[in-house]
């Protein structure tokens, strides 16, 4: 524990800016995964414990696409679309069979899928850490702002993820599709009675979640090292986020993710070895004080 280092950081603008940017990056990337987890839970009442694996696949798909095309935009899109398709297959083939089953059964299916895919990734891409490398376009000098150093790629990441978050928000709140999935979250029987094919809606939510997680994997690839099992940490964080923000709430997922991102980034200075512990403590506190989460509906 190093509280004096944390204190020193909080009074220095350069440290404050550097840590805030890295916290935002962690938080916004986490948001893209957590939003999918939260949506899937909200609409399907299924805990997709394999969502971190989606993220991992996104990063690996993007890696291969980048090797082939040498175009970062294509790589990220390949990650997103590839995982969206994978999400569809996963939903139709596996998860749709355990709708309404006990939670442990759903977790078990996901656990099996995680074990298999972590191994498959090792088979295809090798067991060692892979490094994506920084794309050409972002290899310029970092921007120095009030003493804080911000790599250009970080700014790009923040911008892109914010745009995606805004688009997702619009999709959920302003479109007919968003209205349908919100309705399906509350009363799926009524939605299907109104002539909407809920099976298609369910599958589409998995596709959407997969797309977001895959894009996140592709976007994160240049700043993370790729390894089988990289999905596990982020899926556990996603659950912390959904519990803090409230299950099924996209706004809650955003606030929760940013909180976690900042806690991780500043916590790594003050409590370098206990940052994970801090997140779990935050979650426990939220659950005790407001069990439905900060943005959750009451009456679970």
């Amino acid at each position: 524990m190093d509280l004096s280092a944390l204190g020193n950081c909080l009074i220095s603008t350069s440290c404050l800016i550097t840590q805030t940017t890295s916290g935002l990056i962690i938080g916004l990337l986490l948001f893209m995964v957590a939003a999918g987890v939260s949506l899937i839970f909200g609409v399907l009442k299924v805990v997709n414990f394999a969502h971190g694996t989606f993220y991992m696949l996104g990063a690996y798909f993007a890696y291969t696409a980048y090797q082939i095309t040498d175009n970062y935009a294509v790589a990220v899109l390949a990650g997103g679309l590839g995982v969206a398709i994978f999400g569809l297959i996963f939903e139709r083939l596996l998860i749709s069979r355990v709708y309404g089953s006990p939670v442990l059964m759903q977790i078990l299916v996901c656990y099996g899928v995680i074990l298999i895919l972590d191994d498959v990734v090792k088979l295809i891409w090798g067991p060692d850490f892979l490094s994506f490398g920084m794309p050409e376009a972002f290899r310029s000098l970092p921007i120095v702002f009030a003493g804080g150093v911000i790599p250009v790629f970080y700014l790009f990441l923040i911008l892109v993820t914010l745009v995606i978050a805004a688009l997702l928000g619009l999709l959920i709140t302003r479109t007919r599709y968003g209205k349908i999935i919100r309705a399906a979250a509350v009363n799926p029987t009524m939605v299907s009675a109104l002539g909407i094919n809920t099976g298609v809606i369910y599958a589409s939510v998995f596709v959407l979640g997969g797309l977001l997680a895959g894009l996140a994997g592709g976007l994160a690839a240049p700043v993370r090292s790729l390894t089988a099992g990289m999905g596990l940490a982020i899926v556990i964080e996603s659950f912390i986020v959904t519990v803090i923000g409230g299950m099924g709430s996209v706004a809650g997922a955003l606030v929760g993710s940013l909180l976690i991102g900042l806690v991780r980034s500043f916590g790594s200075i003050g409590f370098p070895l206990f940052t994970e512990g801090l997140m779990f403590l935050m979650m426990a506190v939220v659950l005790i004080l407001k069990p439905s989460g900060l943005f959750g509906r009451e009456g679970r």
């Binding site: 805990v47 939670v103 977790i107 299916v109 656990y111 298999i116 191994d119 090792k122 206990f274």
Partner: protein, 341 residues
Amino acid sequence: MTFRSSLARDCLIALIAFLVLAALPYIFPSRGFTDFLVRLAAFGIFATSLNLLVGYSGMESFGHGLYFGLGCYSFALIMQNFPVSIPVAFLLTIALSIVVALVVGAICVNLSEIYFAFLTLAFQMLLHSLIIAWTPITGGDQGLTGGVPRPPFLGIRLDDYYHVYLFSSGLLVVCLLAMYHIVQSPFGYTLRMIRDNAARAPFLGVNVFRVRLMAYVIAGAFGSVGGIIMSLFVSGAFPDFAYWTISGEAIFMLMLGGITVFLGPLFGATLFLVLNDVVTKLTTHYGIFLGGVILLFALGLRKGILDFVSDRLSDRRQSELTAASRTSSDAPGAKPAPAGE
């Protein structure tokens, strides 16, 4: 059959089981065999204790590994740092698990299914990150090395592997007997009632929170016994014992063996360890095989092997009874076929 005589009968069965286990190393004098049974004792107790929650109380904990890790680390740490005898360290470890389970349980037991699963997981990961963080005490991600001192007590010398084996088998038999009596007691039936209808229980004067908390604490205490055996087996403790995969494996053991039969989890633990040892010996792609088996069970069979067998048996009994009642249905006072347990 009265409670007293059934207790005497079960004690006799337990004694016979222990004698058989004690004799086994003379029949199969291989170190691999006794090692397997020591691990089985650890995981058998652990999985059965989880089933007190999952199968009997309907509390789907995804963080039961907390107690496995806690038992393992606290036992090893107490033995390393304090000049106490093994039974004292054993009891201190149980006491610590009970305290932790009281705190965690008080926060978690009244949450709904999914929140219960994930909050228990969160507390387990909290322990895991504490273990990783407190390197000076716990050895961090390298694990707690340096061995566990084993002063002899009551003529039991745990530095001898046959004694470790006897000690573990004894614990396995005693813990299973104790847990069996807990689930057969009125308390055990209260748990089943809460599992089946938590809304109705309060109307019958049951304090649901208290009963659930008690079940959680009991399961935690027994779970830590599994950890203690593990710490004797590996002579230390490793962070993996507190990692979430331990909980995942325990759940898989329940699913393999079955949750409606008392010995299902023990059977599942046996299958899991055999599967684990065979697969790791045959291939490096452990995950693909194990994952495949998990999916096969979760999507195909959808219940444990002993569940399957007991359902089959009760189906057959049921159909025999209906056949019998059909033939005798003219007779006055024909009883309807009794439902299974």
